[in-house]
């Protein structure tokens, strides 16, 4: 037993004093150590090691996943503020508690940001030092040959007629012929192969950093927006034209790609028979778009999960509905409203939709209407409901109000609901209107005509410059992982000593760092045989 004796754990990637023993495992500093001896720097180092430990990263990841659950269970301000206000109306006490925990805006909540920032720091802090260490290890020459090769898991001894130097030379030729990396010393040769494993490991770690950076890039320079678009209208990708705009930290309104999208036609088809009756079969939005204000208009058939990609921005079709059109004449005879009003579907089997018409410039009083649009209106025991999502018998039923809509001052309000606080319900029974029918309001307040309907689509506009780098990094992560799992790192040592009877005795020893895939035994014996044959030949 010598100091050079075999270490089954042949060399960690680093000298043991260069880094904590295992940054993925238990913290190096014992938590139980008294604080007085740790000091501030010690505590900071301990905290950093805790943060960058794999366990913490996994806990944070779990928290991130768990934290996203309320985001998908509860309505969110960002995607569906109307549903949030509805929730507040139906569960006032619970909603206030949930609201104070930011559970209606999970992805913008401080606690959510804390989780992902900590996770980011944890992963970067864990991966970066490993990357540096791996880069060093991939360049490292093989270690010196141990003194006693017979103690290695694989070993063999041969006699050769050659002089020790010549026999070693012959062995080196064989090993370098098998593309081993060589290191020679007095009376020994060390050879190592399988550095691709380290390269794979390195690739994996660099790609992991790449993933993190890409996701960060998307968060800084990307943005998300929503827009509801009625058939026959168009919009440009500019802040004033968007319904919702969620810019990344470094996005300013001038950075938006100046494309224009016009919706010419939307068609939806539904299953008309069988148990799936009313289920959507296909949606196609015929749109025209131009990438720049002066650019040519191109046509595109926008479908669910087939986004329009323009100037690096993806435009997804995420919803559709009906926008009945109305004309309102006020008490003074002026036409004070004439256009489509998007109604929001409240159920999917018949696409019954709810909405509000606000006519703030009607005289002598502001007018408001709230009600439902029924694509295929049928009488179900005295109650109207919609039997099918296609517009087979499109009717509206409205409740009429007059008074103060609350639109001349105060906070901006939802266009889909009426604030009835300052309104008085007009004494007129809501009766279903068919296209072309009118409703005369009592007291000479005016007339509403249901002139027809349009369809609308809702679009999600996403720009994420980190998406492609994230994809490339993701593929590289898997590639690196496969390499590091499939390639074994193995070492072969040869020692030559002069035999008493002249000639040389060659000791050959072999070691692999992991032999899960098997096969090193065969490789070693064929190598050893070749070395012996080569040494015998010359």
């Amino acid at each position: 037993m010598t100091g050079q004796a075999v270490q089954p754990d042949i060399g960690p990637e680093v000298p043991p004093d260069a880094a904590p023993p295992d940054d993925f495992g238990e913290p190096a500093a014992a938590p139980g150590r008294p604080a007085a001896r740790l000091g501030v720097a010690g505590w900071l180092r301990w905290g950093w090691r805790q943060l960058t430990s794999m366990r913490t990263a996994l806990i944070l990841l779990f928290l991130l996943a768990a934290g996203s659950i309320p985001g998908s269970v509860l309505p969110q301000e960002g995607t569906n503020p109307a549903a949030v206000s509805q929730y507040y109306a139906s569960h006032p006490v619970l909603a206030r508690v949930l609201g104070s925990l930011s559970l209606f805006n999970v992805f913008g909540a401080p606690w959510f940001a804390a989780i992902y920032l900590l996770l980011f720091a944890s992963l970067v802090g864990c991966v970066l030092p490993r990357t540096l260490r791996l880069a060093g290890s991939a360049r490292q020459p093989p270690p010196r040959a141990p003194a006693n090769l017979g103690r290695l898991p694989f070993s063999a001894t041969y006699a050769s007629a050659l002089a020790p130097e010549a026999a070693l030379q012959a062995a080196a030729t064989v090993l370098s012929g098998r593309r081993f990396r060589l290191r020679t010393g007095p009376g020994w040769v060390s050879a190592e192969k399988g550095y691709l494993r380290e390269a794979g490991n390195l690739l994996f770690h660099i790609a992991l950093l790449g993933c993190l950076v890409s996701i960060g890039l998307g968060g800084l320079f990307g943005y998300k927006a929503n827009r509801l678009l009625v058939t026959g209208t168009s919009f440009a990708n500019t802040v004033t034209a968007l319904d919702e705009f969620h810019p990344g930290r470094l996005v300013s309104p001038g950075d938006l790609q100046p494309f224009t999208v016009a919706l010419d036609h939307f068609s939806a088809s539904y299953v008309t028979s069988g148990p799936l009756t009313g289920q959507p079969a296909s949606f196609v939005a015929a749109i025209r778009y131009s990438a720049s204000p002066q650019g040519p208009m191109r046509s595109y058939a926008l479908q669910v999960n087939h986004p329009l990609v323009v100037d690096g921005v993806r435009v997804f079709l995420i919803g559709h509905g009906y926008a009945p059109t109305f004309r309102v004449t006020d008490g003074t005879g002026h036409v004070v409203f004439d256009g489509p009003v998007p109604f929001i579907p409240v159920e999917t089997s018949g696409l019954t939709s709810e909405g509000a018409i606000k006519v703030p410039d009607a005289n002598p009083q502001q007018l408001g209407f709230a009600g439902v649009f029924l694509p295929t209106a049928v009488d179900a025991g005295g109650r109207l409901e919609s039997a099918f999502p296609a517009p087979l018998r499109p009717m509206v039923s409205l409740v009429s109000y007059a008074g103060n809509l609350g639109m001349n001052s105060g906070p901006p309000q939802s266009v889909y609901t009426l604030d009835t606080a300052g309104l008085r319900r007009l004494p007129i029974t809501p009766q279903p209107l068919a296209v072309g029918q009118s409703m005369k309001l009592p007291g000479g307040l005016g007339t509403l005509t249901y002139t027809g309907y349009q369809q609308w689509i809702s679009l999600a506009i996403t720009y994420d410059p980190g998406q492609l780098p994230a994809l490339v990094s993701g593929i590289a992560v898997l590639g690196g992982l496969l390499l590091s799992f499939m390639v074994r790192r193995r070492r072969v040592f040869v020692r030559a000593r002069a035999a008493d009877s002249g000639g040389t005795i060659l000791d050959v020893g072999g070691l692999t760092r992991s032999d899960a895939a098997g096969g090193f035994e065969d490789e070693f014996s064929s190598l050893a045989a070749e070395i012996s044959a080569q040494a015998a030949k010359e």
């Binding site: 794999m54 994996f204 998307g218 802040v239 100046p258 224009t260 006519v359």
Partner: protein, 208 residues
């Protein structure tokens, strides 16, 4: 000597899992979720963060060449107003803060109507009506006695024209363009009578 070799395989697998989950999460955040996605788009416009940006005479961005059609059907060309101070207001009859500021804008337009006097063009007000129907827009102008004309901008072309320089970035937005056709100030949010009056007075006192 049979201690198994220590390799960071478990750690690597854990990190891979982390990466895969992180990627998965990122993917959930980005894509569309088809039909069940929310369409309720709330107040349905971006009101922007309120504030006034004033550009000093030396550092004013040139206003773009805006052309368009008025609600009345006539043609508008911003360059035709070169020499006058132009106050351009982006509005919609459906927008609460626009209705809040409308009386001040109407009164200011009347106040500055005679300001040109005998010395040349004075102050010109022009509206840009967005996401509106013409009947509602005209009713709005009657309600608030808005005497100046408005562009009908159903394609957001005017807002887009400004996106390279001083984007409106919210509704309402008001731009003050100096006599040389450069943008002197931008106000996001409702204007106040006194604040906008002071701005216009200052800009119109400059020589072109």
């Amino acid at each position: 000597m049979s201690r198994p070799p220590r390799f960071p395989r478990r750690a690597a697998a854990g990190a891979a899992l982390a990466a895969a989950l992180a990627l998965g999460l990122a993917a959930c955040g980005g894509g569309a979720t088809a039909q069940d996605a929310a369409v309720g788009t709330g107040s349905s416009f971006v009101s922007g963060s309120y504030g006034t940006t004033v550009f000093q005479p030396g550092s004013r961005p040139q206003a773009p060449a805006v052309t368009g059609t008025m609600l009345t059907g006539s043609t508008f060309r911003l360059s035709a107003d070169r020499g006058a101070v132009v106050v351009m207001n982006f509005w919609g009859s459906w927008c609460t803060p626009c209705r809040e500021e409308a009386p001040a804008l109407g009164a200011l337009a009347r106040h500055f109507a005679g300001a040109g006097g005998g010395t040349g063009p004075g102050v010109r007000f022009v509206g840009v009506d967005i996401r509106d129907d013409p009947a509602s827009a005209e009713a709005f102008m009657r309600t608030f006695r808005i005497g100046y004309p408005s562009l009908n901008d159903p394609n957001d072309a005017v807002a887009l024209d400004f996106s390279g320089t001083v984007p409106p970035a919210g509704i309402p937005a008001t731009l003050v363009i100096d006599r040389g056709g450069r943008i002197a100030a931008r106000i996001i949010g409702p204007v106040s009578y006194d604040g906008l009056k002071a701005l216009i007075t200052q800009v119109s006192a400059e020589r072109s």
